[in-house]
């Protein structure tokens, strides 16, 4: 604390106070010979404002200077003797001199952080995604979604324009890194300018700054292989100017690769909103095969072409018009077999189906977006028009009969979404409107005709045809605002929604040039009107230890269902309160616990209330000659979590309980030929499920290895009607999971994952064979050099049920070489080295075991090349 220079000893001590007499800590006390002399000794006042300077000096008088930031300096000449001083400082407003700030590769101005791409880019990086991954705080998930500091980004702008909305992967994976000068992170970005100072946003957005005003760029990938002949191609040109932006892509392959990945939408939807589902729904189907649970590159036999065009034009300042159009064409081939064992209280029926399916997919999706985003006005209107012209063909061989199926399953949707912000009184109210129309006009033909006992007096006949036309009109409109009262955020909302659906269906049978349209119970002319008035509030309280959320939706729903030709009608009005509650407490440095509870009511939709039979697939004739399904769910869960990052030990224990009350019970009448007739009966019934889970992981730093272990046990009970008897079905599932990940050496990393599952089903007192399955994966990665790697992936699957193919083995190897000068990647993959031709999957439904065999892609080699232009 002091420097020693001299001879005679003295101590100067004291106390430093501010103008109010409160002590100042951290004030500097400097002792020198005179006003300009060098420092002889010094002290700094402590937390109580006290200081002490020891001196060993020959001189008689000293100059004492006491300073504190923001206060005038106190200066005085004193004697070199032991003394006690009390010094009071007075505030000053004297400004400190400005100091130069130097330029940086990362720049932060307010909430904007800019990363210079050049600083992060290396030779190997070609597209902007490669560089983005390396920037601090930015992560890209396997699906392509971008996160900043663990949260998904909100917007992906290119030169400040939001060309692709949530489909930004297309730009991210194709804009050449060489064309980009800077990546800007807009922290706490509020995309709606009107809300900028009113509503705090926790999410970040990303802006890509290009080097040139006009950029023309793109990337391409080409590949080929055998056998049979394999090919893949991808080309993505793009152009960016100040007022116009366009990205176009064409991708095609027959290698089983999913092409829709790059046009996947990552838009962040408004939280907790019940939206109408406008995604495609099929009424009819051909006999399907269960898809294997691993990467589709190994089993999908496809021939896919995808074209997508995205265009943005800035009409005037802050007003944009966007168009996104994509077209997908795919022809898929499936071969497989399924063996189903149906259980009835008295009997067991076996069904074998050898299946060949051809699926043809033809999809056109278009989006037109108009957005006006100024300081005093926000309007966004989004019009979506999509058409699906899909068809399928299937052949099933059951051993004693061959069934041919032809399905035409088109679907179309038109939808308009509007968001408008308007000041009402002192509040800024958000209006949302979502209106649309969907239509499915579908047709299934089956040869020979089935259900001859029911439909044709037991006489065999040539063909049956099911036609269904279903339309839905919907409109949902809400208004709401958000207010913060002390520490609690409250968001009230009111809304009204209407849905009008109609269903028409006809079942025809053909035999020897005779056509008969079945009447009575085999047709539907149904109108289904649903309306809902709702009001909801959301309360959120958060601090470092507590996290509490409560939502209180109150719904008034009314349903009117009428079938004029069958002379059936129903109506129902229900007022429901469906609260949900969540509370989390961090009660020590390493422990936290949470509890949640919620109630919800669900009501059946059009596909669960119709009075005439519909042939959904060749062996499923279905109707719901019953009241509207009413389902009441209660869910409770508790979780305890331990995290000790200092010891790298993490553990988690959870329990949940769910109870569901239904007003209807469904019956499956299984005929001799395994054809099922499905009907609903009015009878209150309950389903319970308990789930217990535990998981722990530990990192061993000396071994560079992470070990994790987990287990779960689920027990569920439900009541089921089976051939007119009420039975209790119990399922018990016990599963174990084991993972090991290790960096063995600097050039070799290994990972292993194992899963064991035991599934037991009992129908009243009858217990069925336990299904045991195992899955093991071992991956080795050899990092040969900076521009080369080699990897081996192996998998093993086991089940105890199937007679043949209980064990499935897979092996894939990959090698990649990057030419350093040209930046071209050359990759060779040998998939399914062991030429495993089938995969067997076993699962059970409420009343059957299904063992499904799927034909896989054969052993194949693929070589591909990737570059930017």
């Amino acid at each position: 604390m002091c420097s020693l220079l001299g001879y005679s000893q003295s101590t100067i001590s004291g106390e430093i106070l501010d103008e109010k007499g409160e002590n100042l800590s951290g004030a500097t006390v400097i002792v020198s010979k005179d006003t300009t002399g060098t420092i002889l000794a010094y002290g700094i006042s402590n937390g109580k404002g006290e200081f002490k300077v020891n001196l060993k000096l020959e001189i008689d008088s000293l100059f004492l200077k006491v300073s504190y930031i923001g206060y005038s300096t106190w200066e005085q000449k004193i004697q070199n003797t032991d003394q006690q001083l009390e010094i009071a400082l007075s505030p000053s407003s004297e400004a400190l001199k400005e100091v130069l700030v130097e330029t940086k590769i990362i720049d932060q101005q307010g909430d904007t952080i800019s990363y210079s791409v050049a600083a992060f880019k290396d030779q190997k990086d070609r597209v902007i995604a490669d560089v983005l991954k390396k920037m601090p705080g930015i992560e890209i998930l396997p699906g392509g979604q971008i996160e900043y500091q663990g949260q998904p980004i909100q917007k992906y702008y290119i030169e400040g324009l939001d060309l692709l909305e949530g489909r930004y992967s297309l730009a991210n994976n194709n804009i050449s890194a060489d064309d980009v000068s800077k990546v800007q992170i807009l922290e706490n970005h509020q995309p709606v300018k009107l809300l900028d100072s009113l509503e705090f946003s926790e999410r970040a957005s990303l802006n890509i700054k290009l080097k040139k005003d006009v950029t023309v760029s793109g990337s391409a990938e080409l590949g080929t292989g055998f056998s049979p002949l394999l090919w893949k191609a991808k080309v993505t040109p793009m152009i960016f100017t100040k007022k116009n932006q366009a990205i176009v892509t064409y991708q095609a392959n027959n290698t089983g690769r999913e092409v829709s990945r790059e046009i996947r939408d990552f838009s962040i939807s408004d939280f907790g909103r019940e939206e109408f589902n406008s995604s495609k729904s099929d009424w009819l189907s051909i006999g399907q095969l269960a898809r294997p649970p691993f990467a589709q590159e190994r089993w999908l036999d496809n021939n896919v072409h995808l074209g997508s065009a995205n265009y943005l034009i800035r009409l005037e300042k802050e007003v944009d018009l966007k168009t996104n159009i994509s077209y997908l064409n795919d022809a898929q081939h499936q071969i497989g077999k399924s063996q189903t064992r149906f259980f009835t209280p008295t009997d067991t029926i076996e069904l074998v189906e050898n299946t060949h399916n051809d699926l043809f997919i033809n999809t056109l999706q278009t989006n037109f977006i108009f957005e006006k985003n100024t300081d005093d006005n926000y309007l966004k209107n989004e019009l979506e028009i999509s058409g699906f012209w899909d068809s399928q063909r299937g052949n099933i061989d059951t051993g004693n009969s061959r069934i041919h199926q032809r399905l035409s399953n088109p679907f179309s949707v038109i939808r308009n979404k509007l968001r408008l912000l308007k000041p009402v009184g002192k509040q800024l109210v958000t209006f949302r409107s979502n209106t649309g129309y969907t239509e499915a006009n579908q047709n299934l033909q089956v040869q020979p005709g089935q259900y001859e006992a029911l439909l044709n007096n037991g006489i065999n006949y040539a063909e049956m045809e099911q036609a269904v036309k279903a339309t839905t009109f919907f409109s949902d409109n809400t208004a709401g605002f958000t207010k913060k009262i002390k520490a609690i955020t409250i968001s009230p909302e009111v809304g009204v929604s209407v849905k009008n659906q109609s269903l028409g269906s006809r079942l025809r049978i053909f035999d020897q040039n005779e056509t008969q349209i079945l009447d009575g119970d085999f047709q539907n002319n149904l109108d289904f009107l649903t309306s809902r008035f709702y009001t909801t509030s959301r309360f959120v309280y958060e601090n470092n230890y507590w996290n509490i959320r409560l939502t209180t939706p109150l719904n008034l729903r009314s349903f009117t269902i009428e079938d004029t030709s069958l002379n059936k009608s129903q109506s129902l009005d229900r007022l429901t309160f469906e609260p949900s509650f969540y509370i989390k407490n961090k009660f020590s440095a390493f422990w936290e616990t949470s509890i949640s509870a919620n109630f919800s009511n669900n009501f059946g939709d059009l596909d669960q209330v119709y009075f005439g039979f519909i042939l959904n697939n060749y062996r499923n004739l279905q109707r719901y000659n019953s009241p509207l399904p009413e389902i009441f769910n209660q869910n409770y869960s508790w979780q305890l979590r331990f995290r000790n990052p200092l010891k790298s030990l993490f553990a988690n224990l959870s329990y949940s309980f769910g109870k569901t009350k239904r007003n209807l019970i469904y019956s499956n009448r299984i005929g001799e030929n395994a054809a099922t007739i499905f009907e609903a009966l009015e009878k209150e019934n309950y389903t319970d499920a308990h789930r217990l889970g535990i998981k722990a992981s530990k990192y061993f730093s000396k071994l560079n290895t992470t070990l994790s272990l987990g287990s779960s046990f689920i027990i569920s009970n439900r009541e089921q009607l089976l051939n007119d008897n009420l039975v209790d079905v119990e399922n018990q599932n016990l599963a174990f999971k084991f993972d090991l990940e290790s960096e063995v050496t600097h050039w070799l990393s290994a990972s292993y994952s194992g899963n064991l599952s035991f599934l037991k089903t009992s129908l009243e007192a009858r217990e069925f064979n336990e299904i045991r399955t195992q899955q093991h994966e071992l991956d080795l990665f050899f990092y040969l050099a900076d521009n080369q790697y080699f990897s081996v992936d192996s998998e093993y699957y086991f089940n105890n049920i199937s007679k043949a193919n209980r064990n499935n083995y897979f092996l894939n190897v990959n090698y990649q070489y990057t030419f350093k000068d040209s930046g071209i990647d050359l990759k060779a993959s040998w998939n399914n080295v062991l030429n495993t031709d089938e995969f067997v999957r076993v699962f059970n439904t409420d009343f059957s075991y299904v063992q499904s065999t799927y034909r896989l892609r054969p052993s194949q080699v693929l070589v591909s090349m990737k570059f930017s232009f």
Binding site: V99, N544, S697, S791
Partner: protein, 222 residues
């Protein structure tokens, strides 16, 4: 000092480091007073927290690890030389710390007994400090008076405290393989996965390892 916040960033290194902290510490629930110095990536040094101690903290994903050291561990010798730095009259001083000898320039015109890294205890702000072999060299970049002088108050419960050895081990693990640490921190509610292309992660890890090997010259040698 109390109502003043001093920010130091080391020159010549990437500033990715300090930006993380400015971005995050906006909403700390403050309690105890301390001065705060930011240096390396994720690293924040609180002087005077707890009283008469230095807290070295390092943020890994979402945990702030912390160890404590004595605040008054620097024995400074004031030297006669002086020069002008950025318009301030600065005086030379020397000390030794953790196996290196340092020369510092401080100015009593800014009466803050603070400096970069853990350095403190001179009667004025340290404007420049470097070790005698010039492996570490800090220069004041900017100094400005903050308008609404945010009081830096810290809660011990925001940190996980341990000894210096364990904290440094965890930091090294994190630096060597941040992706593995990230994955270990995943919870059912919040899962972060990184979508590397095959080989890209291994390449990054190798580069990191080589960079760290080259940088095998820690500021604290002992």
């Amino acid at each position: 000092m109390g109502d003043q916040l001093s920010i130091f960033a080391s020159q010549g290194r990437t500033l990715r480091d300090s930006l993380k902290i400015t971005a995050r510490d906006r909403n700390i629930d403050f309690k105890e007073h301390a001065r705060r110095t930011k240096t390396d990536f994720g690293e924040v040094i609180y002087k005077g927290f707890p009283e008469n101690n230095i807290s070295y903290s390092y943020e890994i994903i979402r945990d702030k690890l912390r160890y404590e050291e004595d605040l008054n561990q620097f024995a400074w010798k004031i030297l006669p030389e002086s020069k002008t730095i950025q318009g301030y009259k600065a005086q030379k001083a020397s000390t030794s710390f953790a196996g290196r000898n340092y020369l510092a320039w401080f100015t009593s015109e800014i009466p803050i007994d603070d400096g970069p890294y853990k350095f403190n205890g001179l009667p004025g702000l340290i404007l420049e400090i470097s070790d005698t072999e010039n492996h570490y060299n800090y220069k004041l970049q900017s100094f400005e008076k903050l308008e609404d002088s945010p009081t830096v108050r810290i809660k011990a419960s925001n940190f996980l405290k341990s000894d210096k050895k364990e904290v440094l081990e965890r930091i090294m693990e994190y630096k060597l393989n941040p992706f593995a640490v990230l994955e270990r921190n995943n919870t059912p509610e919040k899962t972060i996965k990184i979508g590397f292309k095959e080989g890209q992660k291994e390449k990054l890890l190798r580069e990191t390892r080589e960079k760290l090997k080259k940088q095998n010259n820690p500021i604290e040698l002992e």
